[in-house]
Symmetry: D2
Amino acid sequence: MKKLDILTTGGTIDKIYYDDKSDYQIGEPEIARILRAMNVAFEWEIRALMRKDSLHINDDDRALIRQAILASDDEHFLITHGTDTMVETAAALGDVGNRVIVMTGALNPARFIDSDAVFNIGCAVGAVQCLGPGIWIAMNGRIWDPRRVRKNRAENRFEPV
Amino acid sequence: MKKLDILTTGGTIDKIYYDDKSDYQIGEPEIARILRAMNVAFEWEIRALMRKDSLHINDDDRALIRQAILASDDEHFLITHGTDTMVETAAALGDVGNRVIVMTGALNPARFIDSDAVFNIGCAVGAVQCLGPGIWIAMNGRIWDPRRVRKNRAENRFEPV
Amino acid sequence: MKKLDILTTGGTIDKIYYDDKSDYQIGEPEIARILRAMNVAFEWEIRALMRKDSLHINDDDRALIRQAILASDDEHFLITHGTDTMVETAAALGDVGNRVIVMTGALNPARFIDSDAVFNIGCAVGAVQCLGPGIWIAMNGRIWDPRRVRKNRAENRFEPV
Amino acid sequence: MKKLDILTTGGTIDKIYYDDKSDYQIGEPEIARILRAMNVAFEWEIRALMRKDSLHINDDDRALIRQAILASDDEHFLITHGTDTMVETAAALGDVGNRVIVMTGALNPARFIDSDAVFNIGCAVGAVQCLGPGIWIAMNGRIWDPRRVRKNRAENRFEPV
């Protein structure tokens, strides 16, 4: 892996809580803070494409993500994305040539104690170096083919279909 | 201090995040988990009176909190409460006799990394043993007379009036 | 409380782990990082007097701590100190006039998940504003007279004598 | 991946601090706690083979690890191990047939805030599902061939040789 090209789109992983509004909002990409803290031994670059809850990601957003991938000469991509429509975005990315793309996110905000964010990013980073071309999802400790996984919202976990 | 009588009412301190609803709700009182983890060397008892954002605490709720205090023979009380109307509830408690009551809460949920919850509970616990009778607020590291403090919502901190 | 005068001496609260030596050492005072993160609404100043495991604190060190207190015109002091000889140092400080001095530390390094450091500092901060002149110890959630407390090393907690 | 067979041997990842001895010792395998908290969607089994600082792992220990691998019919293995001699143990495992083995550990104890333990386990879990047969090391966010990596102790990181 020459370089890891990271695209962020928002989602729970980047949610922070604002007490003055009794509300959460999507903050700075947590993945940058995490990769620095982990002192990773590879080159990476980050582009924050949008800050959206994945329920609000639409066709235009997905076209933008696809353009950001195709405009790059890199081979390895990691996309952070809200979990509710991660599978839909994976399907919409279409043919990406020889690129290896792993999508991940979090079921609990990275700023939470016991969040799955650091673990999920680890899974995605470990997998992206070892996978062949295509689009993959790293959630709940597994590397999924997006066509064979769904989020079970009631159980708050990803499961095979 | 013979015993610390703890009343919980909800507020940000107990907020947890539910990804399936992309929403925060008020969970179990965090103070119980914290005092157990801290292995405190005093006797304490907890009553969860309500689970409300403090913007929703009304006159009936305040009457209930007052009743819960007056019905107890204990001298030392710690009340966890949302920060937005903590000052109003303190004013509504009225005459509490010889009791020492410290109110506290959190500007960030206890489940967050860098939450002020543990620190604030520490301040309240340290102060309640040393204060004379009356009602006090422990926020931002200070022990305030409720008549001389307000929450600055824009700055998300308590400040003198 | 006009200002809180903080003296640090080392101890477990400031211990950090160095993998290359498979050893811990005493690092920067954690209390400064904690008070900044907690956004406290009072003025404070910190002096790092030494960085010692409290088993290595000797009579000269205790004389130095006493001098640092007496040389200051402030009224309120917080001293962080290793737990093994905190009681001995409290006894050695002698007559401190009208000053209010609270000593605290931690049974687990502040850098540990579930450390008691933040809670103990909270207790000390809450108490120092409410106590009368004298020297006090804030550990395990209680404010102790140093003549009536000891560390139970086997149980790793402070208890009355 | 039908099942992940986890072997633990000790190392910094499992170190906990004992204040009464002012010492670190190796505790229960942290990986079990972490995988449960992360709610992973695969089957796993754990065997705690030893609890050693990796500087104390000798030829007999390495023979034992090898036996534990060969005695299993599983294909996928994750080994947690101290970082100082992780490379040596990888070399000593020799021919493991069609098995996929990923070794990982931590440069800071898992119980520390900002430990690399959760991230490293994530990397190892993500990689083990995607790699071909052989022995690999997951540290500092990279999946290394053990013959082409070393620990730089002064810098406290893994780097290519």
